[in-house]
Assembly symmetry: C2
Homo-oligomer: 426 residues x 2
């Protein structure tokens, strides 16, 4: 990976596009959305993220809405709003604190929660980290897309990767003496290719605070919810009823390994025994290793991309410097920049790099590769010599990149002095 | 993470430095190294990577040397040379083929092997992927660095991460019906922070081909070598003799979990039974999950960095375009670029971006932030209006970025036409 040609100077188009889209989604604003500012909590520029308009209260018992919002400090967050919720017990919101300790790649971080009247009702708001361009597993797997209105069930390899990530997330949650409680396919989001995160943690802890159910019971329930989620994805059926189904029948197309993992999740422990996530993880450790190695490879690939991009930041600074010093109106009549001055070669170099004309065809040469090579040599200050022709083509000078670099540094230092700036800023 | 100010426009300094050093190490050449070109195999520009000069034959039975080399296609590789090796059985080198199937984040990929007389002796060469700036675990952990000449033993968290990575690597190797055979601390390399890779795979398969030992026996031996490696790192002792030692005694400072994992590795199976890596991985699954989550976080962080850098590639292209079109000598006298032509605003814009003068102090403004903001607005073609002053400061024009973008596109298209280039190249 550690070699480069002009062709792989820039990042792969696919990844560039993904990041570009995310960047646009992040910056997107909706002037006419008619949503309030939350001045007390310092959020503004709310943009609705829900793709459907159904006021379903199925998951939380209250209609819920999701917005992207910008905080005063410039950062973006997601606000999940439960409409018409009245807080009757102040202790309920304190539950949020415990969630702040959960730091896991499979859990959308819970930032805060508060109530507000700003929407014209009494709303409960949860603040989460923002992951641009996310889709819920339901949107991704259950949305009808082919011409028969069906989607093929997810393949086993992808499902195993979900199983591993969600199990790791549950371990982090249970390890903090909490329970996920909400593992609906509409509340697990895909944030990058095959990366899933639990997106609605803490909500039910606040909303059903009064019920005061034992944590142990809720954690045991998580296994059941987890099993149901995987079963519905595997059988491509959003509305599975697990009362009296045959897992083996539904999962005929999958390996025995997969079927037994799902069965384990769906089978309650014999009371007073209990199941725990550590045992589950040990039982799927070979899939865990596979996922682990996949992430290592992904990390290596990202590092290589970053390495490719690294040079661009340097070139932006260099190009900017050259543009700062070249052709400044105030240099008209400055001896140094005249045909006999020591800066004159910088002017000729600029022409050499950007204004080259093909000797035979007399056509302009627009070769990005040529530009990059020249700039890199300038930056390195090599001993290589080049011939710079005067604009009228009559005379020419032989000069090394080393000399050019020296003059560029002097010219910029000069300019910095005149600007009253301290050196070494670039 | 998805928000940015001028301050986090560029990548973090630490990571930038790491990548920069790797880039330099990769490109480094040694004109006086006196090493041969391998013309038949198309390798040149060999640079020795060994930091010590000891002609030790301890690991392979032959003195060995490691070189960085560039191949004809421009890519870099590592060559490991065994000095004075005579190939007596042609089948030995064929073993390499099986290694090409091993694709794992913890194994340095084996590319090829051949014999050569180019070094003035009969040498056996193994070709591997190149990981710039690597250090061996021995160099990293056993090199005396503090003023007492001792290094503190590695902490348990780091060791667990090695255990997980090496176990995952062994799984990939054993899964391909091969054995690592060489797990010396000098043959496991650190390629990035806490990332380890097995660096000398396949060597002993070729060198000890004649011995023809059963694979099953070699795989069982891998566990012992793995255990010894971890024990020597944990006890900070490169020369451990495992014959009659007390693991628990040596590992007093470590958790029972760690001690029992190492003991398992060091204890041979009761014949005719055998140990397998899958069982080991299941037994350390909770550490596997921890490592897994750490890599997920590392992946997220790299993605954020890449997102930050993304814009630079775009800006390099934009700056280059502007430099292509501005101040071309052949435009002297071109009506379009005259004070009354439609391209004139591009000239004024260039002055606005790069040649700005502070209105009060009359000093040049050298503000990278200003440049970046202007270029981004130009690229977006916003409706925002700016006032461009003529160079003599007498007249001025109000113009939108949209209009500027339009003129820049037209000017470049014009130039491309004259260059005879097809559009859409940038
Ligand atoms: N933390 C987040 N960052 C970015 N997008 C998110 C985040 N959490 C949720 N979303 C997105 O917001 C949208 C709405 O989420 P929501 O949970 O309301 O799903 P839904 O399909 O509308 O389900 P329901 O009918 O229960 O409201 C989804 O597209 C989801 O991907
Ligand atoms: N694939 C590789 N990519 C980059 N560097 C490597 C690679 N393999 C080995 N190296 C580096 O080459 C150097 C020499 O490796 P080598 O295996 O010879 O270690 P050593 O300490 O010299 O041991 P020995 O005494 O057995 O030769 C080490 O610094 C190592 O990090
Ligand atoms: Mg919704
Ligand atoms: Mg060596």
């Amino acid at each position: 990976p550690y070699q480069r040609t002009v062709h792989d100077f820039f990042i792969s188009n696919e990844l560039r596009e993904e990041l570009q889209k995310k960047s646009e989604a992040t910056r997107q604003v909706m002037p006419t959305a008619g949503l309030p500012r939350l001045d007390r909590e310092k959020f503004h520029s709310l943009v609705p993220l829900d793709t459907n308009n159904n006021k379903s209260a199925a998951v939380f018992g209250f209609p819920s809405w999701v917005y992207k919002a910008q905080k005063e400090d410039g950062k973006y967050y997601v606000l999940r709003r439960l409409e018409g919720f009245r807080l009757s017990n102040a202790g309920a919101i304190a539950k949020i604190k415990e969630w702040k300790h959960v730091y896991n790649g499979g859990v959308v971080s819970v930032v805060n929660a508060f109530t507000t009247q700003a929407f014209g009702d009494s709303s409960l708001i949860f603040v989460y980290n923002y992951h641009p361009m996310s889709k819920t597993l339901a949107e991704y797997h259950f949305a009808p897309t082919n011409r028969y209105g069906h989607r093929a069930p997810a393949n086993e390899q992808v499902l195993w990767s979900y199983v591993v990530q969600i199990a790791s997330a549950i371990k982090a949650v249970h390890g903090n003496h909490l329970a996920v409680r909400c593992l609906d396919a509409s509340k697990v989001i895909l944030t990058e290719k095959n990366r899933v995160r639990l997106s609605a943690c803490a909500v039910l802890d606040v909303v059903q605070f009064e019920a005061n159910r034992p944590m142990q019971e809720l954690q045991q329930e998580d296994f059941l919810l987890f099993g149901r989620l995987m079963l519905s994805l595997a059988s491509n059926n959003p509305h599975i009823i697990t009362a009296k189904i045959s897992v083996d029948g539904l999962l005929r197309a999958y390996t025995p390994d997969f079927r037994s993992a799902i069965s384990w999740l769906l089978t309650p422990a014999h009371i007073p025994g209990s199941k725990n996530i550590t045992d589950f993880l040990a039982s799927i450790s070979s899939h865990l290793v596979t996922s682990y190695d996949m992430v290592l490879h992904a990390e290596d690939a990202l590092r290589t991309d970053l390495y490719r991009e690294l040079e661009n930041g340097r070139l932006v600074r260099l190009l900017t410097k050259l543009d700062f010093i070249n052709e400044r109106p105030e240099y008209e009549g400055d001896m140094k920049w005249s045909e006999y001055g020591e800066r004159y070669i910088l002017k000729l170099f600029r022409d050499y790099v950007f204004h080259a004309i093909d000797a035979e065809t007399r056509r302009p040469k627009l070769d990005l590769g040529h530009v990059l090579v020249c700039l890199n040599k300038l930056d390195a200050g090599t001993n290589e010599q080049i011939r710079l022709d005067s604009q009228d083509g009559v005379s020419s000078i032989i000069v090394t990149y080393k000399e050019l670099k020296k003059q560029a540094i002097l010219a910029f230092a000069d300019l910095e002095k005149r600007a009253g700036a301290k050196g070494g800023r670039y």
